[in-house]
């Protein structure tokens, strides 16, 4: 389009638009009328010619106002088609006009060149050729057949008339050329506007997508990259132009642990009715451009309109390395702090124990009590630190079970023995009441489950002031259930849901000088969960509580 590159010309042309439109038609009509005033016999033909001329001109005007790209049923009225019709109508009009002004001798026959000329501006070659052929054929028909047949007289070549007609012809050509250019202007303007709108919209969208902090990319139905935004480019350390069209598996290498997540997995090319999330991965591993391991969450959507635009999936990636780092730092801080605390605790406990051994019999009862309290406190401090370390290991996922085939009765017997003394000191009966049937062997980590048992039994002994603590075992659908029943205070129903959370302690019990760290049950639950077991509690206020946990029975195929 000629004016596409000259958008600055448009306002100037627009200003004269209506004026030139009016003048064009005034001139066409007056020139035509004038040509009929000269000869004498043509009055009868004047009417017919006028009708043809006005009808053609109206048709041209009609087609001009008709917006292009108008759909009528299945027929699409394109701009090209419209312009082509206008071109043909122009030729008809010019033919009639030339016919009326002297056929071959008409000074206006140059107008025939106008249509092919204007067509050349915005039509493809086939259209120009067609219009030129049409013009030539019509011209020949006009001169050789129609004019003589209608008996139209040749124009006299009197000097003033010649000058007048030549000037009119030139003016007419200019006006028509302008008219075509205007048509062109309107269309180009419309196109430019449209192009601007579309690119503006596109720019807006792509700017938004480009600037999103998360990585975004899209794959087509052959799982090749069709879109990739800036953040994703930065992650990959490659430029868009090198990535577009590449196969996803060559570009994106995500790992879930050690397992590669291929494009077939995160972009399954599902046909969906509504936009659907087809894959979600959290903390996937990914090597960035500096070969640094980063972690990201990935969400892949299959667009419902995907097949129309050949987009199989749109993938959004969120870098979670920072969060993971912070989490790791938090855990490391706890474990470093705990490790640093171990040395002074070792020292304090050690010296206190030596002191106790040496002075045992020399101290007054009150002084012995003081020493005992100091020992209890350092022991408490020690178990708090150890529990914190356990929690940090659990949360880091650093605890690995060493599962073996174990007879749980023996384990329970041992742990119960450890607490017999503490129980009898408080005047509580503590015992393991064996089931009549022998328990099947269980698949557990002996030391970890010992921790759980110690924890439950020590809690039961601590929180029971009179009565008994009983440990029992039973078999239940592939599991061995161990229960620790006490006759203590019981746990309020509202506290039960929080019982196995970190640092939770049942209020009211604290005042009794309990020694808990609030971590024991949390750790126990984590350990039991690692065994694919379950831990739970039943309790009645004032009557006592029973803690249960179950661990899987050892299967012969269970060769862990």
């Amino acid at each position: 389009m000629i004016l596409e590159n000259r958008p600055d010309e448009i306002p100037r042309l627009k200003r004269y638009e209506s004026f030139f439109e009016a003048v064009t038609w005034a001139v066409i009509t007056s020139a035509y009328a004038l040509s009929w005033l000269m000869p004498d016999e043509a009055v009868n033909l004047f009417l017919i010619n006028s009708i043809v001329l006005v009808a053609t001109a109206s048709a041209i005007v009609f087609y001009r106002i008709l917006p292009f790209e108008k759909r009528t049923g299945s027929f699409i009225f394109t701009f090209r088609l419209k312009a082509f019709i206008i071109g043909i109508l122009n030729i008809i009009m010019i033919s009639v006009f030339i016919l009326g002004t002297g056929g071959i001798k008409s000074p206006f026959w140059y107008l025939y060149l106008l249509s092919p000329l204007s067509a050349a501006l915005y039509f493809p070659s086939w259209a120009i050729a067609t219009l030129t052929t049409w013009a030539v054929i019509l011209y020949l028909i006009t001169i050789f057949y129609i004019s003589p047949y209608l008996g139209i007289p040749y124009f006299t070549t009197d000097f003033p008339v010649s000058i007048f007609t030549m000037v009119t012809a030139v003016f007419f050509v200019v006006i028509l050329a302008y008219s075509q250019a205007k048509e062109l202007t309107i269309e180009s303007e419309r196109n430019i506007k449209l192009v601007n709108e579309v690119t503006g919209e596109r720019n807006k969208l792509s700017t938004v997508l480009e600037s999103v902090a998360d990585g975004v990319f899209a794959l087509d139905y052959k799982r090749r990259v069709v879109f990739i935004n800036k953040s994703m480019e930065d992650l990959l350390g490659a430029a868009e132009k090198d990535l577009i069209g590449k196969e996803a598996d060559l570009v994106f290498k995500f790992y879930n642990g050690d397992r590669r997540v291929n494009a077939t997995e995160f972009c399954p090319l599902k046909k969906v009715a509504n936009d659907t999330v087809v894959y979600e991965g959290s903390s996937l591993k990914f090597l960035n451009r500096s070969k640094k391991e980063i972690f990201l969450n990935l969400a892949s959507t299959a667009p419902s309109k995907g097949p129309l635009i050949d987009v199989g999936c749109i993938v959004v990636i969120h870098n979670v390395s920072k969060e993971r780092e912070l989490e790791a730092m938090k855990l490391d801080f706890v474990s470093i702090a705990a490790h640093e605390l171990r040395t002074p605790i070792t020292s304090a406990r050690g010296y206190l124990s030596i002191l106790e051994q040496e002075l045992k019999n020399k101290l007054k009862p009150e002084e012995r009590n003081f020493l005992e309290r100091a020992q209890i406190s350092t022991d408490q401090l020690s178990s708090l630190v150890e529990n914190l370390l356990d929690v940090s290991r659990i949360e880091k996922g650093a605890i690995k079970l060493d599962i073996t085939k174990i007879q749980i009765e023996e384990l329970i017997e041992k742990i119960v023995d450890n607490y017999k003394e503490a129980a009898s000191q408080k005047g509580i009966a503590l015992g393991y009441i064996r089931n009549k049937i022998k328990m099947p062997p269980v698949a557990i980590d002996k030391f970890r489950i010992s921790e759980v048992l110690s924890n439950l039994i020590s809690n039961a002994v601590t929180y029971t002031s009179k009565g008994r603590v009983e440990v029992r075992t039973s078999v239940q659908k592939g599991f061995v259930v161990t229960s620790v029943k006490d006759t203590g205070e019981g746990i309020p129903a509202e506290a039960i849901p929080n019982l196995f959370t970190k640092f939770f302690r049942v209020s009211g019990l604290l005042e009794q000088g309990s020694k808990g760290t609030g971590l024991g049950l949390y750790i126990s639950k984590a350990i039991v969960d690692l065994h694919s077991g379950k831990i739970w509690v039943e309790s009645e206020l004032g009557r006592g509580s029973t803690f249960y946990f179950r661990v899987p029975i050892h299967q012969s195929k269970n060769y862990l």
């Binding site: 040395t343 030596i354 150890e386 690995k400 002996k446």
Partner: protein, 138 residues
């Protein structure tokens, strides 16, 4: 009376070092001690101890390095049994220590001084605790 056993304690924390020196002396051991890895290694190579208690987080040279150098040396001290006595409980470190030839791994914070003495005595009586500690400490 049999000759006293000689024990080398390599521990950087003064209080903890003196705590163990004290308890072992009372039990009739000849005690030699060192406060960093370098010094510890030198004494290990020259003192002809019957057993070495070795910490891991040590200045100058870490306990693991000391253990490596000791086991690589061509002196008779190469065969001196080494107990790691530390507060580091990571499985990887424990495994590494046993791989390098330690005979025991004791976690300071979990044991009172007299319990450490019993561990050492049990070792001399021929009771190995390796398996137990390997698991207990994880």
């Amino acid at each position: 009376m049999t000759k006293n056993k000689k024990i080398l304690i390599i521990e950087d924390d003064l209080f903890v070092r003196e705590l163990y020196e004290n308890i072992f002396r009372k039990k009739g051991y000849d005690v030699v001690s060192a406060a960093d890895g370098e010094e510890g290694l030198n004494k290990a190579l020259t003192e002809k101890a019957d057993i070495i208690l070795l910490d891991i987080m040590l200045p100058v040279k870490s306990g693991i390095e000391v253990l490596k150098s000791l086991k690589k040396s061509s002196t008779p001290s190469q065969k001196t049994p080494v107990f790691l006595l530390t507060n580091l409980g990571q499985e990887s470190i424990i495994k590494e220590a046993f791989r390098l030839g330690a005979v025991g791994y004791l976690l300071k914070v979990k044991l009172l001084p007299h319990q450490i003495v019993s561990e050492v005595e049990n070792f001399f009586k021929g009771e190995t605790n390796r398996e137990f500690y390997l698991k207990k400490l994880m």
